[in-house]
């Protein structure tokens, strides 16, 4: 009896020690998340309700939802949102199609394929600054290639209100191509060869096999790609910062959401408005992610 109680006590002590160790191991990461992820995230909701004073040092004023409405209906925000959505439309399909095309071309066991695969995935290592400088020079009105190719928009492409956004989108697509290729390749290699072979034996042409068998089987990968590409496009701004800047004439047309947030913090120094913009960015990202979750759920449902 007494021994039993002693055993129970020592078991409880061991469980307690295990729990303490568990919390201890989780703590470092949790502390970082608490200070640099969750606290600043929640703080957005509070800041959004306070107006930044016109002069530093004055207390910020509680204005409730007034500021939210003000920001969301301002022409600057609407322009920024339009540019961002247009940018997503320019980048996502082109980036994914390009990656898919390269992945299909490289999906064969041929000599030298390893080299091609490294080349196709290579842009995954290039940063926004690298892609900006590479394309900035190629598109330069003096040393660039555009005039030689007979394309010479005036004002120059990166100061041009019509062409600046597509130019930035081209840089983003190139930079995204590597990741897109890697994701699409992984998806393709997960398509079972027997299914394709069965379709071929049934007399289906290569084109039919691709569109009727490969693409449907690839749809989860494509959907994952759409989410990754959309979030990537939402977060782009570096090329605008390096090549165009907020004092350019074309600025209004390339003021992507994250650049708007950055300038609202650093230049306008109105943290309340920046918090509202941050929450919009969060909701956009959340919407895209939830869409993916719903899609996966439906697939599981069909499969079951």
């Amino acid at each position: 009896m007494r021994r039993q109680r002693g055993a129970a006590r020592s078991r409880r002590a061991r469980a307690l020690r295990e729990a303490a160790l568990g919390y201890l191991l989780v703590l470092p990461a949790l502390a970082v998340f608490g200070v640099f992820v969750f606290y600043p995230f929640v703080e957005n909701f509070r800041l959004a309700l306070y107006q930044t004073p016109p002069y530093p040092g004055l207390p910020s004023r509680y204005v409730g939802l007034h500021q939210v409405g003000q920001v969301l209906s301002s022409s600057g925000f609407l322009q920024s949102l339009t540019s961002t959505v247009l940018f997503v439309v320019l980048v996502v399909p082109a980036g994914l199609l390009g990656g898919l095309l390269l992945a299909v071309a490289a999906h064969r066991r041929l000599r030298g394929m390893a080299v091609y695969r490294v080349i196709f995935s290579s842009t995954v290592v290039s940063s926004v600054a690298v892609s900006a400088l590479v394309f900035g020079t190629l598109m330069d009105p003096v040393v660039g290639l555009l005039p030689w190719l007979g394309l010479n928009p005036s004002p120059p492409i990166l100061q041009n209100t019509t062409w600046a956004l597509p130019a930035i989108a081209l840089m983003a697509v190139w930079q995204f191509l590597g990741l897109s290729f890697i994701v699409m390749s992984a998806g393709l290699s997960a398509v079972p060869e027997e299914v394709l072979e069965a379709a071929r034996v049934d007399g289906a042409s290569e084109r039919t096999v691709f569109w009727r068998v490969t693409v449907p089987l690839l749809s989860p990968t494509i959907f994952f790609g759409v989410v990754v590409a959309t979030i990537y496009a939402f977060q782009t701004f570096g090329q605008v910062d390096i090549l165009i800047g907020y004092s350019s004439a074309a600025f209004e047309h390339v003021n992507l959401l994250v650049y708007d947030i950055l300038n609202t913090i650093e230049v306008a120094k109105t943290s309340g408005q920046a918090a509202v913009l941050s929450l919009v960015l969060f909701l956009l990202t959340l919407g895209v992610t939830l869409l993916q979750l719903r899609f996966i759920e439906r697939r599981v449902h069909y499969a079951g």
């Binding site: 640099f36 290579s122 995954v124 600054a129 977060q235």
Partner: protein
């Protein structure tokens, strides 16, 4: 018999024609993907006078290394590269350590609220860093961390993705192994260091390569935190400054670009498998 031979030959001819077509396609793709970077390398090696030549030179017959020296010294790229290396090393090591610790706890230890805490970790994946920028700039300024390595690295010392990756890897380890180790008198910490971590090496490598790439290529946060002074500025921000003086020094900026991207191209060639594994972690099992 002869008809057979003809069809075989015809089929072989058709196949080799198809292979040739595929190689053509692949090569066109490779040229499109590589051309921007290749032209950058060529331009960075041309003498300034050749930069405006048309048609553009596609091979530097008389390479000039002068621009590299300028970017390295006057562009302060030597300093920026060192800063990037320090920042990246701290972030990669930090993420590996915190992910191993938390991943181990979630995989091997039982404690109240374990599931809830794991969901909390995953929730960090839903909050893009850009969304937390407003308050993080304030926090770092309050801590006096502007223009310091602490400011650059500390916000990134933990990762929900990495914790998830390592938890999955630890869950693959057979329970029997843990029991056997317990009988041998191994406590949790010793088991983690001696058994679990070595067995999770592939996941560690994947996470390491992934966070190296992400840290080295960071732009937004270093831009905000290293606004003034060369002492901690990273190479990406250095490139922006080189671009600022572009018109007269296009070739110097390009040399800087090559210097900044070169370490990563080496990384890609050496660690392609690990990189692919980490990048496709969410898409394909």
């Amino acid at each position: 018999m002869r008809a057979d031979a003809t069809t075989v030959r015809a089929r072989a001819a058709r196949r080799s024609w198809r292979v040739a077509l595929r190689y053509t396609l692949l090569t066109v793709g490779a040229i499109v993907v590589l051309a921007p970077l290749y032209l950058t390398v060529v331009n960075s090696l041309l003498p300034p006078s050749a930069l405006a030549e048309r048609p553009p030179p596609v091979f530097p017959l008389h390479p000039v290394w002068h621009d590299y020296a300028t970017a390295w010294n006057q562009g302060h790229l030597a300093v920026y590269l060192r800063n990037s290396a320090i920042q990246t090393a701290v972030i990669v090591c930090g993420q590996l350590v915190t992910s191993v610790l938390a991943g181990y706890a979630f995989a091997f230890l039982r404690f109240p609220l374990r599931r809830t805490l794991f969901v909390v970790f995953l929730a960090t994946l839903m909050i893009p860093f850009e969304v937390t920028l407003v308050t993080n700039t304030q926090t770092v300024s309050d801590l006096g961390w502007y223009n310091t390595f602490e400011g650059l690295a500390v916000p990134f010392l933990a990762t929900g993705f990495g914790t998830f990756l390592l938890r999955q890897a630890f869950l693959q380890i057979p329970r029997d192994l843990r029991e056997a180790a317990t009988l041998d008198g191994y406590g949790h910490l010793r088991f983690m260091v001696r058994v679990a971590v070595p067995l999770a090496r592939p996941a560690l490598a994947a996470l390491g390569v992934f966070s190296f790439l992400a840290a080295w290529n960071q732009y937004l946060w270093p831009l905000v935190v290293t606004g003034s002074g060369n002492n901690v500025r990273t190479v990406q921000i250095g490139l922006k400054l080189l671009q600022g003086t572009q018109v007269s020094h296009a070739d110097v900026a390009l040399a800087g670009t090559v210097i900044a991207v070169l370490p990563l191209l080496v990384l890609l060639v050496v660690f392609q498998k690990q990189l692919v594994r980490s990048l496709t972690g969410g898409a394909v099992k």
